[in-house]
Amino acid sequence: MDLNFTPEEQAFRAEVCAFLREQLPPEIARKVHDGKRLAKDDFVRWQKILHAKGWGASSWPVAHGGTGWSAVQQHIFDEECADAGAPMQLPFGLKMVAPVIMAFGNPAQQARFLPRIVDGTDWWCQGYSEPGSGSDLASLKTRAVRDGDHYVINGQKTWNTLGQYADWIFCLVRTSTEGRQQEGISFLLIDMKTPGITVRPIIMMDGEHEINEVWFEDVRVPIENRVGEENKGWTYAKFLLGHERTGIAGVGRSKRELKKLKTIACRESSAGRPLIEDPRFRDRIAQVEMELMALEITNLRVISAEGEKKRAPGPEASILKIKGSEIQQILTELQMQALGHYALPYLHESLDPDWSGDAAMPAYEGDAGPLSGHYFNVRKTTIYGGSNEIQKNIISQMILGL
């Protein structure tokens, strides 16, 4: 039992920090720290910088162009990136479709798609949920009908994150209506430029365009773009959902947001004293910090067990998802609450990176605008990726055998 990182791991952390100091563009880090809107170019630029260093895919094996890092190294990398204000590397290509292509794709698909993910050329998005298929994902209805060496796709996907920028979408489609609904699903890779695809924005309650619905009308997809076998897509989908375990806790980002919360609580005042001196508010910060300490250790326990690859899968992934998402929500709630009445104004332009405040509202400091929006935005975290209620079904039914 030893909670210390090894000298090699500490040296690795120092190397990551040095790289971030030299290579992370300060204007991007500023946006992340201030909670400003990130442009497509910010994400792509950062991915290209990482790729140039050879660090484009921290969770991939070397054979596919990844770093081959251990789970502990990935954790250190994620933590330092979050602390430095690096944009999150979007998971749709790197952590969702890529592992499926590696595990179930053919060599031609691997050679075609994987290099363009790691070097930042292709932007991927996800086509899983449908209007009638949320938690009950296997009931999906988007149809793929064989026509020669193509599938013809008709249907609608929704809750598609940042699909407005995407070059490719990975989709679960129905290729059979026979038998159990799980047994008629296939996994397709679809070029977003294919005729018949329409992307329509869904404006979320924070007022932002982050999410879309994607319509397919007689969209022709070559058979060669199917990953694995026809009607076996559910297996790959479950693999995808279960693959990413340790990143989902978001410990690094939450540590950064906790720091920010404390900064705000020291700066804002209550009854003439810094807000942090109000024990009622301070105890709430302490409570979420305790939750985060526990989550960090739980996450490290999972990471160190993964490194040794010797334990049967337990409830860990679901615990990390549930606790990680709850903590993200509490942190944004407390950040918002710390602002008091300055959490009320809604100024869409305040999320623009070049917005320099409002002369008519001199007390309205830079981060007041983003903070309430973030509270409303992260209500999604307990819903997406298998809602927290679905996670409890997984724990009780799959793990505990109820």
């Binding site: 301070r282 305790m290 300490m293 526990a294 409830p315 409890k392 079904n393 505990l400 055998g401």
Partner: protein, 374 residues
């Protein structure tokens, strides 16, 4: 980074697990709780054979040089076994104080006796009105004839009836000192009673109790940091005990959900109960993480870091324990509130841990106040 126990630690864990399964079943425990001693002296002798009474002591004094993680492992097993034996008082608290601050002569005389099981200790520190504050001591030490005279009263001294010796805290001027006091010392009187969790405790009166110069542990008037360290250590140990109890409660509750039938089906098929069970498992895993943190930090030489981590861990573990304990009773329905099942007894022990050396509010406040220094 490594969260695994060593082979030796796993062997010790297995030994204790087998002992509770074979020799210390729930009905045996019930009988021992009702006995005059309130615990099993044969089990204590077995503990001496296992070496766990010597675990945290230096090899020079017959010990095994164990660290706080070793203590955590033992306490988790004692929690699972719902042990009545005063391991916390005698070995962790008082043994720890003697180990950390005792003179060579005191260690020589006392640690092997504790390790061998022939001498048991109790820590007489809390007083009426002290609540959980460690510096609130009204018992007075007055210098007398090269030694001291002790006058005062100590409240709810855990394991007091079985103690052959006490470690008594007393105030001399502005400082606190710790003294070794024989249970039979003239002027010392004890009113003992059972506790809610089936163990024993007592209230102590000291009326002109004479102690010699060599009864002092550590320097005169400088004991508060020693007490703080010992109590942090004890709280880390209690976190581990609580985790052991929570794990045991989850096992019996899960089994009950799978076997108890209502409406023609096992009640574990109902989603309301499934999610409650999932909440209990989550709370226990998170509590285990915090208990681990507390154990590792309990050995830290940085006192601020140690007490900050232990405070956070105790507050968090107690919150988890409340959820798991209350819901284990709830999910057992009417049977959960009987004396017959072990569930109620586990719950009572968990609840009393929540009132020993600081409750949730106390530790949350301690941790919260560290945010001001940051």
């Amino acid at each position: 980074m490594n969260f695994d126990y060593t082979e030796e630690q796993i062997a010790l864990q297995d030994t204790l697990r087998r002992f509770y399964a074979r020799d210390y079943g729930f009905e045996h425990r019930r009988a021992m709780s009702k006995s005059a001693d309130g615990f099993d002296r044969a089990a204590w002798a077995t503990f001496a054979d296992f070496g766990i009474l010597a675990l945290p002591f230096p090899e020079d004094f017959g010990g095994l040089n164990g660290n706080a993680v070793d203590t955590m492992l033992v306490m988790e097993m004692l929690g699972r076994g719902l042990a009545l034996e005063p391991y916390l008082s005698s070995v962790v608290l008082c043994g720890g104080l003697i180990r950390d601050a005792g003179s060579a002569a005191q260690k020589e005389a006392l640690l092997p006796a504790i390790a061998g099981g022939e001498l048991m200790f109790a820590f007489a520190h809390n007083e009426a009105g002290s609540r959980y504050a460690l510096d609130h001591v009204a018992t007075r030490a007055t210098p007398a004839g090269g030694g001291w005279t002790l006058d005062g009263a100590k409240a709810v001294v855990l394991a007091a009836p079985s103690a052959g010796k006490f470690i008594v805290s007393a105030r001399e001027g502005l400082g606190l000192s710790l003294f070794l006091v024989d249970a039979g010392a003239p002027g010392l009187s004890l009113r003992s009673y059972p506790t809610q969790d089936g163990a024993r405790a007592g209230d102590l009166r000291l009326d002109g109790v004479q102690v010699a110069a060599d009864a002092l542990i550590g320097g005169a008037c400088g004991a508060l940091p020693l007490i703080e360290r010992a109590v942090d250590y004890a709280n880390a140990a209690l976190c581990a005990e609580a985790v052991g109890i929570m794990a045991a409660l989850n096992e019996v509750t899960l089994e009950y959900l799978k076997t108890r039938k209502q409406f023609g089906t096992p009640i574990g098929k109902f989603q309301a109960l499934q999610h409650r069970m999932a909440d209990m498992v989550i709370a226990t895993e998170q509590a285990r993480s915090m208990a681990t943190l507390a154990a590792v930090r309990a050995d830290s030489t940085d006192a601020a870091e140690r007490s900050r981590s232990v405070a956070a861990a105790k507050a968090y573990v107690l919150q988890s324990a409340r959820l798991v304990g209350q819901q284990a009773v709830q999910l057992h329905g009417g049977m959960g509130v009987t004396d017959e099942l072990n569930v109620g007894h586990y719950f009572k022990r968990l609840t009393m841990i929540g009132l020993t050396f600081g409750d949730v509010d106390y530790h949350l406040g301690r941790f919260s106040d560290t945010l001001l220094a940051a």
